[in-house]
């Protein structure tokens, strides 16, 4: 089972978290959420409303771009909204799912996309949180994804809280966190990931052991759908 590519496992795991009828949004630099939303629509969520930063509503892209602001994501859209419209949708409580990420993520599911080191004079100035400070408290569910799972990413203490809010799940190459009572708990380990490896890679304490469930590997139907949604493997691009 360890020969499951992490990008395939993550894309499928993220898609499984989406339900038909939900409004689902991703912003810039989000290949995996793009693939996951389209995959979920293909598989079990035909009535999912796929929204993205281009202002497309349920587009049917002919190919998947690496830049998730790419005009290719407009193909097939029947209406055009603005980023402001999408923030408003979340602000009034009508956005069901927002995909967000963080360079640092703490045990409460809060994220840092702003700076490493002192905020006023950082050792590393990060890109910034884009929509996250507004979306995380207002979207009904926030799904965080991160292609790196190590102690520099999952930290005890954020250098800066860029955003905090309604985090539901965190998906990584090693497994899934679910947020309960404001804390991230390990929901499952991906096939071939040992509890020790997961604990070692996580900078805050986690309850994980032999009893921890294993993420069901992508089944044939999921893999076939993934290959047809993302034939060029754009999801893989996030792994550099």
């Amino acid at each position: 089972m360890v020969d499951i590519a992490p990008w395939d496992m993550m894309a499928v795991a993220m898609a499984r978290l989406l339900h038909s009828g939900e409004t689902v949004f991703h912003g810039v630099a989000s290949p995996l959420p793009m693939v996951a939303a389209l995959l979920a629509k293909r598989l079990h969520a035909p009535d999912l409303v796929y929204l993205n930063i281009t202002g497309a509503t349920d587009p049917t892209p002919e190919y998947l771009p690496i830049s998730t602001v790419d005009p290719a994501l407009l193909h097939g859209t029947r209406s055009l909204v603005t980023l402001a419209d999408l923030f408003d949708l979340s602000g009034r409580g009508r956005l069901d799912v927002a995909f967000l990420s963080g360079v640092q993520i703490d045990g409460a599911g809060r994220i840092n996309l702003s700076a490493i080191g002192p905020y006023g004079r950082p050792s590393v100035r990060l890109p910034g949180g884009a929509g996250s400070a507004m979306l995380m408290p207002t979207a009904r569910r926030v799904i965080l994804w991160r292609t790196k799972h190590d102690r520099r990413t999952f930290v005890e203490q954020l250098d800066f809280v860029t955003a905090a809010g309604n985090v539901d799940r965190v998906v990584t190459p090693l497994g899934l966190f679910v947020r309960r009572d404001g804390r991230l708990e390990v929901e499952s380990l991906h096939p071939g990931v040992s509890p020790e490896a997961f604990r070692e890679a996580t900078g805050f304490p986690v309850a994980v052991g032999p009893e921890t469930p294993v993420t069901p590997p992508p089944n044939e139907e999921e893999m076939a759908a993934l290959r047809s949604v993302d034939p060029d493997g754009v999801a893989r691009s996030e792994f550099g």
Partner: protein
């Protein structure tokens, strides 16, 4: 009707040092590339750049010493090219101030400017360190007692937008995503449009809904074929991946970046006219 056509050099020359400049487009797409290069050539200084999500434009203006502050929600090249290295350097060295926003607070500040009100409420921001870091204040709603953050009006001195088609009166047609361009055109004191091509405005009369920028808001119109480069400009051109890769490679180092700017931008080599 007024003919607002001018040259890029003249349009940019009217921008004073220290101006607050809003740039259209988003990350790799439909940014006003030619205008940004002209800003570098004219050696503008002390600019505040306003954008929800910037990339090459912000990075270059930091490297070239044109920018003093960046008011944006995100600055980076997205997956293909990674972080904005010149922006990083400039902020880490203290040369440029990162006025960090959520993209939604950029929009809120522009909305307040558009509506002529001093502040705009914005949902969310709770639990974030951003309001404290930026001085965004929460007000109590006089009707419901709920608390909400408000963002001060942000009035750009000039908005620079690149569109696919414009007429000489400044009506601008945007094909595809409008990003924050329309908000910027309404919020700014002056608006400069660069356009892939200038067309007769009569061609817009059949479908005015397609015209994103009303001409009466526009001060200068510049015909600039390929004027988005190296940004994408759908459906005419994709972003220039080779050029952006070359830029990101040098952006990390001040000398390398300066040499690149001298050769590729100031000398104009490798920059499509």
């Amino acid at each position: 009707m007024i003919d607002k056509r001018t040259t890029l050099a003249q349009a940019i020359a009217a921008i004073p040092h220290g101006a607050r400049v809003a740039l259209g487009g988003n990350t790799l797409h439909r940014g006003p590339g030619a205008a940004v290069h002209e800003i570098v050539r004219q050696e503008k200084r002390g600019l505040e750049i306003v954008k929800t999500a910037g990339a090459y434009d912000v990075d270059l203006l930091c490297a070239a010493g044109c920018a003093a502050a960046i008011s944006a929600g995100f600055v980076g090249f997205e997956t293909p090219f990674g972080m904005a290295q010149a922006y990083r350097r400039a902020v880490e060295s203290g040369a440029v101030e990162a006025r960090e926003h959520a993209c939604a607070t950029v929009i809120a500040g522009l909305r307040a400017a558009i509506q002529g009100v001093p502040f705009m409420p914005v949902a969310g921001l709770t639990g974030s360190d951003l309001p404290a870091a930026r001085g965004f204040i929460a007000l109590r709603d006089p009707y419901s007692e709920a608390e909400v953050f408000v963002v001060p009006a942000m009035v750009p001195d000039v908005a620079i937008l690149h569109v696919q088609e414009a007429d000489p009166q400044g009506n601008g047609r945007i094909i595809g995503t409008r990003f924050e361009d329309v908000l910027m055109a309404q919020a700014a004191r002056r608006v400069i449009l660069t356009a892939e091509r200038i067309v007769e405005g009569t061609s817009f009369e059949a479908a005015p809904e397609m015209v994103a920028i009303p001409g009466f808001l526009v001060d200068a119109v510049v015909e600039a074929p390929g004027g988005a480069w190296p940004f994408s400009c759908t459906p005419l051109s994709d972003y220039d991946a080779a050029y952006l890769t070359a830029w990101v490679a040098v952006a990390r180092d001040a000398d390398a970046a300066n040499a690149f700017i001298a050769a590729r931008i100031l000398a104009g080599a490798g920059v499509p006219a």
